[in-house]
Each structure stands twice: as structure tokens, then as C-alpha cells.
Symmetry: C2
Subunit: 450 residues, 2 copies
């Protein structure tokens, strides 16, 4: 499906290459066997004048099918909040066929690739048929989502969700039946089957995602301690979750997870919009991180991520519900929202270099996102996977501007000219060879569910 | 410089036309003599399938030359905030020649047109030579800014700034000498000369902008009461301004302006990030409005505009310092920042119709922006100026989405396919005929000032 083999060596000589936290001129990047073979002084003329080559961005938190909600859920009669939004999300989740899941996922992944993401962490929670019966292949929908990512060319980490209940002492609601499993062993066996099925594909790996303290009881969580691979969990997205967790467990969410031993280097707390006082220290000590999803957290009215309350905690980002898919918006929101809340500038970075702040934000998007998903790379360095994004700086918005801060603070998805995953070209000339068919398939799938 | 005369009648039959707060199908828009002559049932096939025609957006607050700061001011050694940012802005303001002002302004205006703005309100405060001596033509720089807008094809309202001092009892600092006048009569005479010089140009008008309570004393403000035309003023952007104003006048900024009689239908308070308790009532009673500039207010660390504290006050938006130029980002920020602050959705709109919220936001950008600048129009209706923007909905981000909410909540500058000002095409096929030359001129101007 792709134009080039990953095995042809490729030499890229853009004007700027992002290494060691800055854009440098006069370098070339050699790609071979899907990896970066060398970064060295240029041996010929520029191949990409006025372009910058950076490590591809990682979308560490995605629910791909929710892309189907775009434009349909900005309005609700009466009071509208996270919970009324969730009602409408459930209705979409209940209406999608396997073909629909695959088509809408491909649309979301296509927009990610066009916007600079090379990898997606798909927090996948729709497993069963409407009503709850398993598909003949119990991993049918997970395979469909993976196939959608492979059709686009994205690297995917399928984070297989564990979902047990509606809340403390409450069984799953009818509209949650597509999500639920009957025990943690069932979840872990699903992970093993998925890993076995995709073992040969270097673009695919599999992790585990206990949905939330709301949806997963303590004994399940204990069964997941020591899981070998990335472990992601929604934590403290809504204030209501804190009181429920205290009532059930006598602890707030992250304190509970830490007491069980889940806060470890493989752990990513998604959201943590409402952290407890000690949560920063727990994550620093345990080695976990937070995945912030600013555009979704604003769209849903969750709140602003209070970065200053979690000093030293690594961050990554995700586009979550796909109200928009724009990594530039997610990254700069981390800094810009903090500026407005705190009344000062350069919140995320001790300003020790002119491009230090912008470089830190890009590294949040690339390097820490990779670590969150248990992947190597996320930087331009010999031996790293050749997951690359080429930014076109010829546009009006870059004229006269300092390149790296302009990319991070004024960049847009349209600036992505080319993108490679494992050395394979996915986006060329700002376009994707399957674009029209993916869009048409998704349109058709979404038209059937109103 | 344009391809078509404004006098040729034009019939547009896009798939959707924005009328009465919604996108309607089956209509055509007839443009004649620079105005909308009719909106009526379509008399032929679509001229623009999968496109939506909406009223052009109004950038009600711009300092065009500050576009030259992009990417250069994200970093400062030591503590960084609004005031340290201002130091660097002053350095740019001090270094620009008339050619430089014109070139950088054209670059900013070009990016505005490409992004969906048909009109700019330029809050123009660099009047004199470095050192403070007037140019041979004392309105030299204002004419240059106007010429830049005309080169691009934008409608411009030049808001001629009055600037008297550094603060209460403090004369202008050396780097403010390009801004200052010696009396309010001088300012009003400059407005009159500008009006006379551009009387014949229907794309140009002139208003008045006392800079702020910091920079303008009470007797000047009194001299501006009853000004015939739009009157804009920076109000309560930074908390520090409130205490200074109380110390000098015993009142907070908007209370002072109201006590003098300046809060009236021609009045626009720019920012009002830190309103007093009665400020909403003052604006509702007086007939004024607020111009919010979310992306700049975040970039500078000013704060979030507290929309819920000003119920019933009309709003418009501006891109101010041009850290970015993206009207979609400014508009949705009004709602989305409020959601995160308040923990609920649909803050700006009683949800009485599926597209009510998105329609309200677009009308803030178009209609209220026009009223802020004393202009008719800002809507698609017979007799209104034909200031139009055509949005291309064929892109990946719109597939399967409800059009109007998707435009407002996921739209991007790249979606602007065409734009007309007074019936004259400015953007066609997403491009501008002068693009390359304007970019090159600005690059050259900015390279000379480091």
C-alpha cells in the first residue's frame, strides 16, 4: 500500500534538524532499515529547503471512534456537562458495526497523520456486540482498530481496556455492555491473544488500560500490578470521581492506585485534572507520568491541568475525544493555559535557552509520549525508529519568525508536509494516498447512525 | 491589483449559506455594487459544492507591527511576564522604519485575509520618528498601515491612539516617544486629517483609541466624550492597572470611564480581563462592549476573560499581538476556556437550537465586530456590504461532522478557500495574488532589525 519500501536508505537534508533541544543547520539524517542510521554533517545540497525535520509526535490517548461525534455534541437541551456528553457518546458507541469502527478509526488516524502524529495510543473500550455478546473472534473490534491504523500507516499501541461496572456496587448499564469483561483474567488473556496475533508487526504493540476507579474494582486493579507493558488509566478527570473513590476506598484515585503498587514507570495517569496534594510526589517516586488532553478537557468542561501542582512529573499529550486533532494546539495549551491561570510566562521551562521552552513542549509530544507507550525513540538520534515529521516553514505564518518557537506556538496541522513511520513515507506533499477513500468510507459509516 | 471589478454582479450558490443563525441549503447570494443585493432560492446548480458561505470575520483589535515579534519573544532570561514582554515589544517598535511598518503590517493583514478576516480594527500607536519628532507628514505611519491593508484588500478601521504618559505623574519613557502627543486636541486633529485623506475610500475609516487609563489622563479622556465614531481603549488587561487607577482616581478603570461619560454605544473595552463587579451593568446600561483577545491574553499571561461576570454584554474578538492569527481559535476560546473554568458546557449560549452556540460565536466574530468598528453589515442580508468568507468543508476534519459546529469548534485557517471584501475577491483558491511579494518584503524588513 505504500510507495516505498522501508528498506531503501534515505538521506534527508532539510534546512533544520531538531537535535538536543534545538533546530540545527548543516546536518543530514540517514534512514536505513526503518531506523535513523546516522545524523552527520551534510554531504550534499539541501533536499528540503525551508523545512524542519523533527521527531514524530505521539498521540498517547485516543478513543478513535469518538471522532464520529464531531460537530454533533456541541449542543444539548438543558444543562450540559461531561455526563450529558457521555450519554451521547454511548449512543454512538452502541450504534457502530465492526465496519463502522474501522472506518471511523481510519478517519481519525488519517487526520492524526496529516497533523504530525506518527504514533497513536488507542484506549480501546468497545469490545463486544451491542447487548454484550462477544464477537466470534472476541478481539474483532481491536483488530479492526489496528487494521485502520495500519491502513493509514500509523504506529499503534492498542491499550486494551478493562471495564467491570458502572460504579461502586453498580453493575454495568445497558449501554456499557459492549465494554465489560467478567474478570481481570479475561482481560489479560485478551491482551495475550492480541499480542500473539500481531507479534510479527513492528508497528503494533499492546498494553493494558483499566478504565478508571469508577469502572474497575480494587481486586481487578491488584491483578494488574506488575503488568509487562504500558498501563494507562483515566484518573481524576472529573471532581465527582474523587468523592466516589473516597467513599468506596477511603482514598483519592491516585493514592489508591499507588497503595496497590500500580504507580510505576509503565504507568500513565490520563487527565489528572483534579490531583490530590501528594499526587505529584507519588508519580515522581513511582516513575509514572500524566497524559494531558487539553482540547478535550476544555470541550468537556473538565478543567485545566494544574501543571504547577505536579513539579517534576513527566507529561505527554493526547487528543482523546477528537473534538479537534491538532497536536500543536495540545502542546502549546500546556504552557498557555498555565500562563493565564498564573499570570506569568514560561511556566513549563526554566528559560535557560532561547528555544528551551518550545523544545521542551515538542519533547513532551514526542519523547515522553513514546515512553508512555513503552516505545523506544521519540527523538532524532542514531538507532531510534525513523518516525519523522517534516514541517514546511515557507508559509505566511513563519515569515521572519524564529523557527522552533513559531512551530510550537503558531504551528498548524497544515504545516505538516511529510511524515515517515519506521522509515516508511505516510504523508507526502501534505497528502495521503488513501485520503479520499478513507474519508468516503467514514462518511458512509457515520451516515447510517444519524 | 484585483482580478475583478466590484461592479460585476456575482451569483454564489454554495451548498450552505449562513442566515438567521444557521447554515441553510438551496439558497443563492447575489452580490452587486459591493453589497449583497439578494439572498433567494437558488436559480441554478451549486457553484460551490461542499462549501459554506458566511459573513467575513472582523479582527477588532490588532497591533499589526507586533507580528514581527512572533517566535522571538517566547523566551526571556529570568522572570517573564506582560511587562518584560512589553520591553521587547518596545524595542521592535523603536526599530521599524516607515517601510518596515508597512511591510510587517501587510504580512499581518495577509495572514488575516487567508484566515477569514475581512476587516481589521488597527489600534495604531506608533506615530512619530524614533526620538519623537513628527514625520514631515505627521500621519505618515498611519497612511502606511492603511496602504498595507489596501494592498492586501482588507477593510480597515484605523483607530488612532492617544498616548500621553508612562503613568500617573510620569512622563513618557524614551521608548514611548514615538507614541506620544502633547494634547487631546492634537489627537482629534490627526483623526480629522486622516478622515479627510481617506474620505474617498469606502474600505477605510478612522476611529479614536485612548490607549489606557495608564497612558491617558482624565482631562484628555473628558475631551474625547461624544467622539463621533468608534472609540476603543485597553481596559483592565493586567491586575496592576486596577490599583494604579484606584490610587490616581479613586475608581477602577471602567468605573472611571463611565463616570466621565465614555461608556456609550461607540465604546469598546479591549480585554477587561479583570473587570470590577459593576462593570457588566455599566456596559449593558451604556451600550458598550468588550473585545476579547484570548490567544494574546494567554500568551502574555493576562488571564482568562470571565464571561460569566458580564452577562448581556456584547463581545467581539481580536488577534492583538498576533502570536497567532486564527479567528477560529479566538472564537472557540471564548466558550472553551469558560467550560474549563466553570466545569460545564455551553456557557455562552442558552442551547435553544442545535447550532445556536456555534452561530452565536460566529456572530460575535462578524456582527459584533462590525458594530465595534462602527461598520454596517457583519451578516448575510440584503443591503449589507459583501464581506464574505467561503469555507471548504471537503477536508478530512469535516467528514461526517455537523457543519456549523465543526467550523467553529474544529475549523482552521486552511479551511478558508475564498474571501471577498465589498464584493472584491481577496482570497481565491486559498491564496492571495500578492502573497510571495508581501512575505518577501516583510522578511527583508524584519531581517534588518534582528
Amino acid at each position: 500500500m505504500h510507495h516505498h519500501s522501508a528498506n531503501l536508505p534515505l538521506i534527508l537534508r532539510p534546512k533544520w534538524v531538531f537535535v538536543e533541544g534545538e533546530l540545527r543547520e548543516g546536518l543530514e539524517v540517514v534512514v536505513d532499515g526503518g531506523q535513523i542510521a546516522a545524523i552527520r554533517p551534510a554531504t550534499g545540497p539541501l533536499t528540503h529547503p525551508d523545512r524542519a525535520l523533527l521527531p514524530g509526535l505521539v498521540n498517547a490517548h485516543s478513543h478513535a471512534f469518538q471522532r464520529g461525534l464531531r460537530g454533533h455534541v456541541q449542543w444539548a437541551s438543558g444543562q450540559d456537562d461531561f455526563w450529558s456528553w457521555r450519554d451521547r457518546m454511548y449512543a454512538l458507541a452502541d450504534g457502530l458495526s465492526p465496519d463502522g469502527v474501522e472506518a471511523v478509526s481510519a478517519l481519525a488516524f488519517l487526520e492524526m497523520a496529516l497533523s504530525g502524529f506518527t504514533t497513536v495510543g488507542e484506549f480501546h473500550y468497545v469490545h463486544h456486540q451491542p447487548g454484550g455478546a462477544p464477537y466470534d473472534d472476541p478481539e474483532e473490534l481491536a483488530h479492526r482498530v489496528i487494521r485502520a491504523a495500519r491502513r493509514v500507516g500509523l504506529r499503534i499501541v492498542l491499550l486494551r481496556v478493562a471495564y467491570a461496572r458502572a460504579g461502586a456496587g453498580r453493575p454495568a448499564e445497558p449501554r456499557q455492555r459492549r465494554f465489560i469483561d467478567t474478570g481481570p483474567d479475561k482481560v489479560l488473556r485478551a491482551v495475550e491473544r492480541l499480542r500473539a496475533a500481531h507479534r510479527e508487526d513492528p508497528w503494533v504493540s499492546v498494553g493494558l488500560a483499566p478504565h478508571s476507579v469508577r469502572a474497575v474494582p480494587k481486586d481487578w486493579l491488584s491483578a494488574f500490578v506488575g503488568f509487562d507493558g504500558p498501563l494507562h488509566m483515566h484518573v481524576a478527570e472529573q471532581p465527582g470521581e474523587l468523592a466516589q473513590c473516597r467513599a468506596e476506598h477511603g482514598l483519592e484515585p491516585l493514592a489508591l492506585l499507588d497503595s496497590l503498587g500500580l504507580v510505576a514507570p509503565n504507568f500513565t495517569a490520563v487527565h489528572l485534572t483534579h490531583p490530590g496534594e501528594e499526587d505529584g510526589a507519588r508519580l515522581v517516586r513511582g516513575g509514572g507520568r500524566v497524559c494531558v488532553c487539553p482540547t478535550t478537557e476544555l470541550d468537556l468542561g473538565d478543567g485545566f491541568f494544574p501543571v504547577e501542582r505536579l513539579p517534576g512529573v513527566p507529561l505527554c499529550v493526547g487528543t482523546d475525544s477528537h473534538a479537534r486533532i491538532d497536536p500543536f494546539a495540545e502542546l502549546r495549551a500546556l504552557e498557555n493555559h498555565s500562563r493565564a491561570r498564573l499570570g506569568r510566562r514560561n511556566v513549563l521551562s526554566p528559560p535557560d535557552a532561547p528555544d528551551g521552552l518550545a523544545a521542551r513542549l515538542w519533547s513532551i509530544g514526542a519523547g515522553e509520549g513514546s515512553r508512555a507507550l513503552g516505545l523506544p525513540g521519540g527523538e532524532l538520534a542514531p538507532g531510534a525508529p525513523a518516525d519523522l515529521v517534516l514541517i514546511d516553514l515557507r508559509g505566511v505564518s513563519y515569515a521572519g519568525a524564529r523557527p522552533l518557537p513559531a512551530i510550537v506556538f503558531a504551528g498548524q496541522p497544515r504545516d505538516v508536509e511529510a511524515l515517515w513511520v519506521g522509515g516508511v513515507p505516510v504523508i507526502e506533499g501534505g497528502d495521503h494516498p488513501e485520503r479520499a477513500r478513507i474519508v468516503e468510507d467514514a462518511r458512509r459509516a457515520l451516515s447510517t447512525i444519524g
